[in-house]
Symmetry: C2
Subunit: 114 residues, 2 copies
DNA sequence: GGCACTGTAAGATGCTCATCGAACACTCGG
DNA sequence: CCGAGTGTTCGATGAGCATCTTACAGTGCC
């Protein structure tokens, strides 16, 4: 079989959406959730491809977690790749920033009034 | 009666929230709605204090419309003032931009892929 | 004062979505 | 080949929210 970039996996590849095809409403809806914000921030604090889905400290079960990553993929925010039994993540900084300039920076910088 | 800045109104003044007190999640949630996006865009295209609530071309009844404006006020996006029987609006561009730099510009510029 | 106009408040409804539990699929190491 | 670890899918559940209808409260004009 064609040797894939990652390392041959026989699993169903995760479905990605290019940021260019994402509507503003979709992007905002994806970001308007505390769990997903937390995921993005935590992901931003780690090097690319170093964090598996289960390695995030969020207060939801793994089913919900899987759902959230699906939403983030659909919004062009996260890219995933299978690495052995794990699915590792990468924040699509540049690409997303081209589509929605400044939005990601805003999310990562914002200090909330609490 | 005390002549107010606007012009004396005996009505309950609309409750506003300062953008500084708005959390990122609140702002994003307020923006993650097609009707409210439409309101903001239409409002941005008109001079301040020239648009009454009922003057917007959105596909909802006036009760829902009133609700949406309430959400926008709570997110520090819109300021309202009573002018006679009407309630006129103003987009809080500068103030909101200080709290969330670039966000409003992003919303107003974004061309959706359709 | 009465009436049209404008917007809010309250209650009901329906839909979307975040969540969970359980079952399943895949990978890797013994 | 089994078993532990990882993640997805499915069905169900519950909460939140956008919406509507109806009723109500101001405002201004005749």
């Amino acid at each position: 079989m064609a040797n894939q970039t990652t390392s041959g996996s026989h699993r169903a590849a995760p479905v990605h959406t290019d940021p260019d095809e994402v509507s503003l409403l979709t992007a905002l809806s994806a970001l308007a959730d505390s769990v997903r914000l937390q995921l993005i921030r935590e992901l931003a604090g780690s090097p690319d491809w170093t964090r598996s889905c289960g390695s995030f400290d969020v207060p939801v079960g793994k089913a919900a977690l899987s759902h959230h990553f699906s939403v983030l993929r659909g919004a062009g925010l996260v890219e995933q790749r299978d690495e052995g039994p794990k699915r590792v993540n990468r924040l699509r900084r540049e690409e997303f920033d081209v589509r929605f300039p400044g939005l990601l920076d805003l999310i990562l910088r914002a200090d909330d009034p609490e």
